[in-house]
């Protein structure tokens, strides 16, 4: 991000205590502030809930269908992010989100303890490091929507809960980070027992190896366990593999990202479960290639219903996307998607998205 990082409040602060660089003490003490918005224009067939025409004649919401955005114009999300060092020992990050145009929610709000060598401790409401997609903010995804398996297992918000996690950089020759965490156990998809002691316990092991100067491969394994909302216990496991690379010199903008993730959730395992348990598993694979600094194409394959069918069958998704980014701070996405649902149904959507960022936005994770 080649950027002008000037706090939005810098121009409003009185010019007190000017230092040599011309920055006032007050503006220096402001957190980094950024805002981003995602605006959508979509056309959707077979969505059931909206009054869009349907070529299959289906009127009910289709079981197994992932998130699509309906027909018409809408706001997908607006966010404000604040980041700053608290003191020499902590830094803080807060993301306030408005999903759509109404209601403000704390998407993330946490402090990170930075004073211990090789160890980072995050405390607060956090997008938890389960796999790769879960920690990615919506505007930083390749596609407009999240992978179908992520939606089915963790719900609309993903695994994002109040808790504590510790990330330890292991003393190995390659980058290897082990995360252990505990959260409040409120995830709507696989936890949510409502018990005071119904914590969720998370583990994630992330490894990255450079393949020469330009390419790298990342392999991760994740696990989550806790009490669920049907009186049993959920165990969720996942593995992810990502290959990234780019060209050299004037070809550095030719970039490739191939990201794959498999997630399996076994819900309602304990004998005390009041309802039958459920197993949901699936995978996705995304591939993107940048032809220039400003234009790239990509696609995603989804499969839900591994190893057992879910909702009476398996769901597949095929998504194609084109992205045009005039700068690092704005981009247009055009996404076409077909979901192949159990029972022979299909759900199709064509969605355009405008994304913008203003202010001091921190870099996204690699």
């Amino acid at each position: 991000m080649h950027t002008i990082l000037v706090s939005l409040l810098a121009f409003q602060a009185p010019a007190l205590a000017e230092d040599g660089a011309g920055q006032s003490f007050l503006s220096a003490m402001n957190p980094g502030i950024s805002a981003n918005g995602l605006f959508l224009a979509g056309a959707e067939l077979d969505d059931g809930e909206l009054a869009a025409p349907s070529w299959t004649g289906e009127s009910a919401d289709l079981p197994g269908k992932g998130e699509t955005f309906g027909t018409g114009l809408s706001v997908q999300e607006m966010e404000v992010q604040l980041t700053s060092a608290v003191d020499p020992y902590f830094k803080a990050n807060m993301v306030l989100a408005i999903p759509g145009t109404e209601g403000l929610e704390v998407e993330e709000g946490f402090v990170t303890v930075t004073a211990v060598p090789r160890l980072l401790v995050n405390i607060g409401k956090i997008k938890e490091p389960f796999g790769r997609e879960n920690v990615t903010h919506t505007h930083a995804l390749l596609t407009i929507d999240r992978a179908l398996v992520s939606q089915r297992v963790f719900g609309e918000e993903g695994l994002n809960d109040v808790g504590v996690n510790a990330q330890l950089l292991l003393p190995l020759p390659w980058y290897s980070q082990l995360t252990l965490g505990v959260d409040a156990g409120q995830n709507e998809g696989v936890l949510g027992s409502g018990d005071a002691g119904g914590f969720g316990y998370l583990a994630h092991w992330k490894n990255l190896v450079d393949l020469g100067d330009n390419y790298s491969v990342e392999v991760g394994a994740s696990g989550l366990s806790g009490l669920d909302d049907i009186g049993g216990q959920s165990v969720v496991g996942g593995v992810d593999v990502t290959v990234k690379g780019h060209g050299s010199a004037r070809h550095q903008w030719n970039r490739l990202v191939w990201q794959n993730e498999f997630i399996f959730a076994d819900k309602g395992r304990a004998p005390s479960a009041s309802k039958p348990g459920q197993q949901i598993g699936g995978l996705y694979s995304t591939l993107e290639y940048s032809f220039t600094k400003r234009f790239w194409l990509g696609g995603r394959f989804d499969m839900v219903g591994l190893p057992k069918p879910v909702d009476g069958g398996q769901t597949f998704g095929a998504t194609a996307i084109a992205v045009l980014a005039p700068t690092e701070f704005s981009c247009f996405r055009l996404q076409a998607q077909r979901q192949f649902l159990p029972g022979g149904h299909t759900a199709d959507s064509l969605t355009g998205q405008l994304s913008f960022v203003i202010g001091v936005h921190p870099a996204h994770s690699y």
């Binding site: 990170t112 060598p117 990255l208 050299s248 700068t327």
Partner: protein, 304 residues
């Protein structure tokens, strides 16, 4: 808590292995660019072990914050950055993820080399992104003035003395040797560049502005209409006209930018596209700070 003798012995050993950095025979320095790595090697000599993050053939504004870089930073005694927000898009997250409190901003283990130089092109007036990717503290490509390289080398020497006072005499001697070589080279470069003094040139980005200023060339325009913004057809036409009226003979393009945008301007204005390394490692054979200027001067004065 741990009842068995084996556990009580093993735990401190395990924690020690995990939380402590291994003892180092040399000062472990990580620089953000290859230019700073070269200067640090020149000053540090055998007493430092230097690694860098951004390769010289890539645009330093855009570097992937790879976790493997965090691994490099995790064991560093000293991090040296260009500063002036050149690395703002990637260095903060790398430092944060390194889990190394010794090299965080504000500590003696973190040095921004820009503290040694006087910046040019500090923007005035209202600054926002409608003006492109401006750097509020000025043009950050200062290492392309060899006198700034001298100032940065002196600053690095001071910091190495602070971090590793036991080898101060060695650092002073290395600096003196580097400065002597630089002075000799500068005389040679100045003589070669004399024919271009007072000439007008066009840059792709503002990368070579310090170099142009050092050798008396005037940068009259840029291929980018605004910093970081790709050229438009209208801007290209305007530059062709400007190139003609200003008798521009050289268009300076970094090795990581395509010459395709500059080619029509060169063709229309009767100029030549010079593809130049802007950093150590920016082209084959450019493996030192002094070698970087050797190559730039050679290309500009001989075309090869």
């Amino acid at each position: 808590m741990f009842s068995t003798p084996r556990a009580s012995t093993a735990l401190p050993l395990l924690l020690g292995a995990v939380f402590s950095s291994p003892a180092l025979a040399a000062v472990n320095v990580v620089t953000t660019t290859q230019d700073l790595a070269s200067l640090t090697e020149a000053v540090g000599g055998a007493n430092v072990k230097v690694a860098y993050i951004a390769r010289g053939d890539l645009d330093p504004h855009f570097v992937d914050a790879k976790p493997s870089y965090m691994l490099k930073l995790s064991s560093a005694n000293l991090v040296i950055a260009v500063g002036m927000e050149l690395e703002i898009g990637w260095l903060p997250s790398l430092l944060s993820g390194s889990g190394n409190p010794r090299v965080q901003s504000g500590t003696s283990g973190y040095l921004e080399a820009s503290a040694a130089i006087t910046p040019i092109e500090v923007p005035t007036g209202s600054i926002d992104r409608s003006r492109g990717d401006l750097h509020p503290q000025g043009n950050p490509h200062y290492w392309l003035d060899p006198e700034n390289g001298r100032k940065v080398a002196r600053l690095i020497e001071q910091r190495l003395e602070l971090v590793d006072p036991g080898n101060a005499a060695s650092y002073k001697a290395n600096l003196a040797s580097f400065e002597s070589s630089l002075t000799t080279k500068e005389a040679s470069w100045s003589a070669s560049m004399a024919s271009l003094k007072g000439s007008n040139v066009i840059g792709y980005h503002s990368t070579f502005d310090y170099f142009a200023k050092a050798y008396g060339m005037n940068v009259v325009g840029f291929v980018e209409p605004r910093p970081g913004i790709p050229p438009t057809p209208q801007h290209t036409l305007e530059l062709i006209q400007l190139g003609k009226t200003s008798a521009v003979k050289h268009i300076l393009v970094e090795t990581f930018h395509s010459g395709a945008d500059a080619a029509p301007i060169a063709s229309g204005a009767g100029a030549k596209v010079d593809t130049l390394p802007s950093s150590v490692g920016g082209a084959t054979g450019v493996d030192s700070y002094l070698g970087l200027f050797d190559t730039i001067v050679r290309i500009l004065t001989t075309g090869a």
